[in-house]
């Protein structure tokens, strides 16, 4: 086979994104993210460092979680080791480390479950691969449960739907409960409690950013497009990742939302108290922390007296919003019942498009040949619109409406089969850069393929983490760091707002063309 493909030049250059590596035991063994400091831990209600009787505590916690989560109990019992999931994880495909195969990752915890909670593991540990909860096991957990982005690709392909994300979350919660937390996630959740967002941006800083953006927008369009914060009595509360206020290409997406709201004539505001869409409580598997962060959104909505809550572009945030928010902080009966709550900005923009309220000049995006990265939390753990699969169709419809050149990547790497960017699930930290780069490999190969086939130059995404991750890892795969775009950045570029400089230009051009036509 290898010889054959040597003759087919362009195909042999880009390896198949799904290509299975040889297994290389132990290849990612040493990789561990920084451990949370005692004050990061205590802010979340976890012990500051490894507690004395940690084994007992860990097993106790496991028992508690088994009683609280049907998923965990059923998934630990049901795996038949068929191997169907073994080649489905991007971290395995990128590293070849067999412990990054979903079933093997589950087994790190399942082996302990069997030892302490099952008949066979208590009496025949060797036979069923049961292990005592030792320090080595704990270290291994810490390493490999932080090499899982909880993207759920494995769950799609498992005959029983076994979701390794559920196991990773449980493992992380057990580790937190004995004092071994991950610095990146836990420090960030602390910042949300203290300041209101992941980046720790105080209200003053956000305000001055927004003012700067308003000026930019006015200069560009000639319109007074507002970007308010903490303004009571607005129609919409916008909950967006704080990266949208800070990072590229996120911020261009934020300007896109502002333009759409302005054009629709709908008042909106940000909240400084809930200035974050991301909810890292999910990554650490902590219902309590996830709820705490969610309740801030409810409180902000109530205090500001809004009628709708709309979420900006963020993958896991949309999972929490769409799938969990009603559970964690609902019911949202104080909002306008005519709209789904919460709503995604893509749903909002799409609806306006359907009503014919948005006008686009696609040629403004002619410098892009575009593809779309389905962010896994949106793709596999949520929905948009009222039909199944809307989470795939809506963003694509927006991109097609705003850009002339759109091409999808290979079918087995998008939609429900999409590959994580490699930085999700609390892995977007420099201390995990190695696994982030390797984990991006399947997605990057799929992108390389469409670059060859269709000359694709850019990729759009609707996830703050994806965007940040791609900015960092794309250069390792031969793309510029700014090849990643926000979906609403494309909207911002193409939208022709009523009374704007762009509208006048368009009119003049049309007149000029008409005049030319007459002259000829």
């Amino acid at each position: 086979m290898a010889d054959m493909s040597d003759y087919i030049m362009d195909e042999s250059e880009i390896p198949d994104p799904l290509e299975r590596p040889e297994i290389m035991p132990g290849s990612m063994e040493g990789l561990k993210p920084f451990i949370a400091k005692p004050d990061h831990q205590s802010a979340l209600g976890f012990p500051g460092e490894l507690v004395d009787n940690w084994q007992e505590k860990a097993i106790g916690k496991m028992g508690e979680l088994l009683g609280k989560y049907r998923s965990l109990q059923v998934y630990l019992d049901s795996c038949v080791k068929c191997g169907a999931c073994t080649d489905k994880c991007h971290y395995f495909l990128g590293t070849g480390d067999p412990k990054n195969m979903p079933v093997a990752r589950q087994d790190l915890l399942r082996s302990v479950y069997r030892r302490y909670f099952t008949f066979s593991g208590k009496y025949f540990p060797k036979l069923v691969g049961a292990r005592d909860m030792t320090k080595e096991v704990l270290d291994e957990w810490y390493s490999y449960f932080h090499q899982c982005s909880q993207c759920r690709r494995c769950s799609v392909y498992c005959p029983y739907g076994i979701d390794t994300a559920e196991v990773s979350m449980a493992a992380r919660e057990i580790m937190d409960s004995v004092g071994v937390g991950q610095k990146y996630c836990n420090e960030i959740i602390g910042k949300v409690y203290k300041i209101g967002n992941n980046l720790g941006l105080p209200k003053k800083a956000i305000q001055s950013t927004l003012e700067g953006l308003e000026e930019e927008l006015e200069e560009e369009t000639g319109l007074k497009i507002r970007m308010p914060i903490d303004e009571p009595g607005c129609e919409v509360l916008l909950i967006t990742p704080s990266a949208d206020l800070f990072a590229e290409p996120h911020i261009q997406g934020l300007m896109g939302y502002a333009k759409v709201f302005h054009e629709a004539g709908i008042s909106w505001t940000l909240s400084s108290y809930a200035s974050e869409a991301a909810n890292f409580g999910m990554f650490i598997g902590s219902y309590e922390n996830m709820r705490e962060v969610s309740l801030r959104i409810r409180k902000a909505a109530e205090e500001l007296g809004v009628k709708r809550i709309i979420f900006g572009e963020c993958g896991h945030a949309w999972r929490v919003a769409y799938s969990f928010l009603n559970t964690l902080a609902g019911p949202f009966d104080f909002l306008d019942p005519r709209y789904p709550s919460p709503q995604h900005i893509c749903e909002f923009t799409y609806d306006l498009m359907q009503e014919g309220k948005l006008k686009f000049d696609k040629s403004k995006n002619d410098q892009y040949r575009l593809t779309f990265h389905d962010s896994c939390n949106v793709a596999r753990a949520s929905r948009m619109g009222d039909k199944p699969g809307g989470q795939f169709e809506l963003p694509r419809a927006i991109l097609r409406a705003t850009c002339n050149h759109f091409f999808d990547m290979a079918e087995d790497t998008i939609k429900e089969a999409t590959f994580c960017c490699g930085g999700g699930g609390g892995l977007l930290t420099d201390d995990l850069m190695d696994i982030r780069i390797k984990g991006a490999q399947p997605r990057m190969r799929a992108l390389q393929q469409v670059r060859e086939e269709h000359g694709v130059t850019h990729m759009a995404a609707i996830c703050a983490i994806c965007k940040a991750q791609f900015t960092k890892v794309m250069p390792h795969y031969g793309f510029d760091m700014d090849s990643i775009l926000s979906v609403h950045q494309m909207v911002a570029n193409a939208i022709v707002m009523t009374g704007s400089i762009q509208a006048k230009e368009l009119e003049e051009n049309a007149n000029a063309a008409a005049a030319e036509g007459q002259a000829a």
């Binding site: 299975r20 059923v74 093997a104 799609v156 392909y157």
Partner: protein, 245 residues
């Protein structure tokens, strides 16, 4: 003596199987799923969920998407097993219903298909390094057990016939608590011992996957979290206990 031993063995095996499964099902039933976690493509209605589960059970839909070889061997094994089990129903009821009479013929071929499916699955445990890596001794033993049951069964059909009229009398006797003698046929005894062993192991092993599928939240939940608030009892308590910080 022999009859008594096997009678007791099958009573115990049945009790363990039924009791063990009942215990597990109750455990799964009583353990809440606090969050909505269906995986795409998720149906939005309960009827859609029923259909999705039916497709998983009958066609192994997800496995088909995942890996054609495992699907092929796995599906053949399970479909064949179903026919073989149906074929065996005739040992337990009188008169034998038409449908069971009808499957007899197929049941024989199914015996071979079952062995072929198992052989394929087992071969993967040796030949595919990824699958070899995740296989524990128990995974091999389980296949060996099923294989031995199938082979001993086929041996009775094609090599060393056994007195199936007496076997039927034995099992009917077990069910009506009037024991009838069991033929002291070595192959039969091996076959029956292994089946009893399988029944006993069932509720303590990965064979639970048959029950697990129906309780798997990623597969059995409807995708309607915005329309309907989903709250686990323990989460409701948490909610009642405290307001936002």
């Amino acid at each position: 003596m022999l009859t008594g031993l096997y009678a007791i063995l099958f009573y115990v095996a049945t009790a363990v199987l039924v009791g063990g499964l009942a215990y597990r099902i109750r455990l799964y039933w009583n353990t809440p799923a606090p969050l909505k976690i269906p995986t795409t493509p998720a149906p939005t209605t309960e009827a859609g969920v029923a259909l999705r589960l039916a497709r998983e059970v009958v066609l192994f839909e997800s496995l088909f998407k995942s890996n054609k070889w495992i699907w092929l061997f796995g599906w053949i094994f399970h479909a064949a097993l179903l026919l073989v089990v149906l074929r065996h129903v005739r040992y337990f009821i009188n008169p034998v219903p038409d449908i069971i009479v009808f499957v007899q013929e197929f049941g024989i071929y199914a015996g071979f298909a079952m062995i072929a499916g198992l052989a394929g699955l087992w071969a993967r445990r040796f030949l595919v390094p990824r699958v070899r890596y995740i296989s524990a001794p128990s995974d091999h033993l389980m296949l060996a057990l099923l294989m031995a049951i199938g082979l001993s069964g086929l041996t009775m059909k094609f090599v060393a016939h056994t007195d199936i009229v007496a076997v039927k009398a034995f099992f009917i006797g077990l069910m009506t608590f009037s024991w009838q003698p069991l033929p002291a046929d070595p192959v039969l005894l091996v076959h029956l011992t292994l089946v009893a062993l399988l029944m006993i192991i069932f509720p303590f092993s990965k064979l639970l996957h048959g029950v697990g599928l129906f309780f798997s939240p990623t597969r059995n939940q409807a995708d309607n979290p915005r329309e309907k608030r989903h709250l686990a009892p323990w989460a409701a308590k948490l909610e009642a206990g405290e307001g936002p910080k």
